[in-house]
């Protein structure tokens, strides 16, 4: 892979200098140590020159200051579960791991807030707040591993964000270290702060505006009760039309997830969640809130499912049954290893009424390019996740066909008034595709934000924005 050439300290000189700056225990630099930081949950890889393991905001600030003075790219990394290459040091430099900044600093029950360090694992926060009847709403499928710092960087979603919103709707305060080492506090425990919404502007910036060192999040009362149902349909068409009908009926479930037959079969082989293997499409629908109205809503949903020829409808009778239904969904990506050694997960979004047509297009595109595609996704949000399978052992041609299929699907999403990515981020996987969705002026406005926060361009370079070197080939093909 071609990397941008940038003058600045690299290699063993950088490792030695950082060890002197932070202490030997906070810096990794041998080839064996660096190897495990060259990948994340996506496809691309690159080896860092050094890995820093800061223990405090002061460490991060000193590190950033040093990198600023020596022109070293700085790439934050949570748990490395990201699906767009956000944590990959594509231009080299320092990867900053938050493994040692992983404390819950405060659970503030009266104010419904928690203050955490970026390395705290998403699920650990909700586990810690559960005794108070509270939880942190965003629940990415990787929530057993992914960190809150990563959630802030990627503006992570998850199945239950349909009714309650994504990360940006649940963060009120941040402490940042800018790429020149400046420490900035933004927001706090109040619902808003004066001036521009810098917290909202920063969230989802994928490490390209600076590094998060502390996060103040909203905690939400756990729902009093839930109803979870699984409905199986003869084909994906009926399943996706059911989703449109539920939304159009004005029902706002906490989650509507969808899975096709290929995905269902892989999941069943892996976790046996009890999904029917002969169904063309499966929906997992959950409603939550006050107990009183829930059964009425569930009955309405069941009626809509039946009207669209659902062959099976199963309502979870116990918490254990509910967990089993969800285990299938949350374990779906992991189960895909049974189908194919490699896959691209796409993350396009479309207006919800366009779901049936986009799913037909996904299928046709896969067939035309001769690649297998499984679908497991957040149907209620219109956020599709086609898993486009390939096997590198069969040569580069298969990867190319997978990429072509990806571009075709994403183009269709954008043309339907949607987006390239709903929750996985742009990173280095889709930055070349940004011109599909954004005109030059749109990207120029984003660049202005980048220049305000990171004028030196050292914060996670090579991400989000199209890069001339890597994207030349693609921009010729882009439609505008």
């Amino acid at each position: 892979m071609a990397t941008a050439v940038r003058a600045g300290m690299r290699g063993t000189a950088l490792v030695r200098a950082l060890q002197e700056l932070l202490g030997a225990k906070k810096v990794l630099g041998t080839p064996e140590e660096l190897l495990i930081y060259e990948y994340d949950g996506a496809v691309d890889t690159a080896t860092p020159d050094a890995v820093a393991l800061p223990e405090s905001t002061a460490d991060v600030s000193a590190l950033a200051r040093f990198c600023y003075e020596h022109a070293v790219p700085i790439v934050p990394r949570g748990a490395g579960t990201g699906l767009s290459g956000g944590a990959i040091p594509v231009e080299g430099g320092v990867v900053v791991s938050f493994a040692r900044m992983a404390r819950i600093l405060e659970i503030d029950v009266p104010n419904l807030r928690a203050v955490v360090q970026p390395g705290v694992i998403n699920l650990h926060l909700s586990t810690a707040t559960a005794p108070h009847g509270l939880y942190f709403v965003p629940d990415p499928s990787s929530q057993k591993a992914c960190t809150l710092g990563g959630n802030v960087a990627e503006n992570s979603g998850g199945p239950h964000t349909l009714a309650y919103g994504v990360t940006t709707n649940h963060v009120t305060g941040l402490e940042l270290v800018l790429s020149d080492g400046t420490v900035v506090r933004l927001g706090g425990k109040a619902v808003e702060s004066e001036g521009y919404d810098l917290v909202g502007t920063f969230i989802g910036s994928e490490g390209t505006l600076g590094i998060v060192t502390e996060i103040t999040v909203k905690l939400t009362p756990l729902p009093e009760d839930k109803r979870t149902l699984m409905a199986a349909f003869p084909t994906m068409d009926e399943a996706s039309e059911t989703v449109s009908s539920i939304i159009a009926a004005g029902i706002v479930p906490s989650a509507i997830e969808m899975m096709d037959q290929l995905a269902t079969q892989a999941v069943e082989a892996s976790v046996s969640a009890g999904y029917p293997l002969d169904a063309g499409g499966i929906l997992l629908v959950e409603v939550d809130g006050a107990r009183d109205g829930l059964d009425d809503v569930r009955e309405k949903i069941e009626a809509i499912c039946r009207a669209h020829d659902a062959s099976t409808i199963r309502v979870a009778a116990t918490a254990l049954e509910r967990e089993r239904l969800w285990a299938g969904r949350k374990g779906a990506f992991a189960a895909m290893g049974r189908l194919s050694p490699d896959y691209y997960v796409q993350d396009g979004v479309i207006p919800r009424t366009r779901l049936p047509e986009i799913l037909r297009l996904v299928k046709e595109s896969g067939e035309r390019h001769g690649v297998r595609i499984a679908n497991v996704f957040h149907a209620g949000d219109g956020n599709i996740h086609p898993l486009i399978m390939f096997d590198l052992r069969n040569g580069p041609d298969e990867l190319e066909r997978a990429k072509e299929t990806s571009i075709e699907i994403l183009t269709a999403c954008v043309e339907a008034g949607g987006s390239l990515t709903g929750e996985h981020g742009v990173g280095m996987e889709k930055n070349c595709y940004m011109p599909l969705q954004f005109a030059p002026a749109d990207l120029a406005a984003m660049r202005r934000v980048k220049d305000a926060f990171d004028p030196a361009g050292l914060a996670n370079p090579g991400k989000v924005f199209p890069t001339p070197g890597r994207c030349r080939e693609f921009s010729l093909a882009a439609r505008r």
Binding site: G195, L198, G293, V297, V349, G382
Partner: protein
């Protein structure tokens, strides 16, 4: 009202951007207005051009089954509300000045009402914008989908920016079906702590209330609660609220009462109106101290989001002193505040933002990036 020389009302986004580009080249100061309902915001500054968005109006696209609507920014909020109601839907923002405010103004001023905790605020409901910039371009951010992380979330940057970064020309929002049932409840408390304690319980209750408002009355503190949803959920919400509020609680139609409370900024012409956002648990202490100020006249609190407005009336010196003290109280409690409105006489003495906001340096850099000539809304930039 601010004195201006020229008044322009561009017909579309492109014309709007061209006006901004020319003003930038000539270094002429531009004020931006929609319905001019919130003309009182910000500090005194002289303008060369008053740009009205009112000709950039109309529903651009409404797909009821997607629960989204795209609307030109000069559209009156009331007109959007009527159009959505015809499809049985609503935009869940109970903004002040709702009769005359425009969509662009609601976004630029981040003008939330009491429903924020229930449905989300402007920043949470806004999923797409088109904005005219001073370089003459019209940019698009977000889209018509409810989930989107492609590139930076510039929508957030423009919410509450008071027109200092660009002119919002179009917006896309999430909308909801109009709920089938509604109910309300009013309770009277002798002490401020009882009122906010009850409000806190109601705000956290499983059948989520739509508005939980505390108001100072001459002989106590009133708690006003409204709930909307399906029949059973509303019944449950009211039952829980009644339980939390105790014996004084009475069922009531609260629509007019809440509208009056919401319109406090419209009638706070004299003296000063202080607006603060607090940590939830700091509300009792703040409200109690506010009500003890000599110039205190009225307090309206969105108790579920902890946003309070305090109207102060009296001698200028006393009002200025009390207003500054209340903003300082909010800051000391870990919140923030501003002087939202004040009489013309107090305009010079009471700055909108008495203190630099957190992140001021970054805000200045963003302002320079988006408006290098510094022509947009002088006097409304934070910091």
């Amino acid at each position: 009202m601010r004195a201006t020389q020229d008044r322009v009302a561009p017909a579309d986004a492109g014309e709007c951007a061209a006006i901004l580009a020319q003003a930038g080249a000539e270094g002429r100061m531009v004020g931006i207005g929609g319905g001019l309902t919130k003309h009182y915001l910000g500090d005194a500054a002289s303008l060369d051009i008053e740009l009205r968005t009112t000709s950039i109006a109309g529903i651009v696209d409404h797909v009821p089954a997607d629960l989204t609507v795209t609307v030109a920014a000069g559209t009156r909020f009331a007109d959007l509300r009527a159009a959505l109601a015809r499809a049985g839907q609503f935009l869940p923002i109970d903004t002040p000045h709702a009769d005359d405010a425009t969509i662009g103004g609601v976004i630029a001023a981040n003008a939330n009402g009491f429903w924020r905790a229930r449905y989300g605020g402007v920043r949470d409901l806004l999923i797409g914008t088109r904005v005219a910039l001073t370089d003459g371009t019209v940019i698009r951010s977000g889209g018509r989908v409810v989930k989107n992380v492609a590139g930076y979330d510039l929508n957030k940057l423009f919410v509450g920016s008071f027109g200092t970064l660009g002119v919002i020309v179009e917006a896309t929002f999430k909308v909801l079906p109009i709920p089938a049932a509604e109910a309300g409840l009013i309770a009277r408390f002798g002490t401020v702590s009882d009122a906010f304690n009850a409000a806190a319980i109601i705000a956290r209750a499983p059948a989520r209330a739509e508005a939980v408002v505390v108001e100072r009355q001459p002989d106590g503190w009133d708690l006003v609660v409204s709930a909307r949803g399906d029949d059973k959920t509303v019944a449950r919400a009211v039952a829980d609220a009644r339980h939390a509020a105790g014996s004084s609680a009475e069922s009531a139609a609260v629509g007019d009462r809440l509208a009056l409370a919401r319109e406090l900024p419209a009638r706070a012409v004299e003296g000063a109106l202080v607006r603060v956002a607090l940590p939830l648990a700091s509300q009792t202490a703040f409200a109690e101290a506010a009500a003890r100020r000599d110039t205190f006249r009225e307090l309206v609190a969105d108790a579920s989001s902890a946003v309070h407005r305090v109207h102060l009336v009296g001698e200028d010196d006393a009002v200025a002193e009390d207003a500054a003290a209340l903003v300082a109280n909010a800051r000391a409690a870990g919140g923030t505040g501003r002087i939202e409105r004040r009489s013309e006489r107090l305009r010079e003495r009471l700055r909108t933002w008495p203190h630099a906001p957190l992140g001021e340096t970054l805000m200045r850099r963003l302002k320079t990036q988006f408006d290098p000539a510094g022509i947009l809304e002088p006097g409304r930039s934070p910091g």
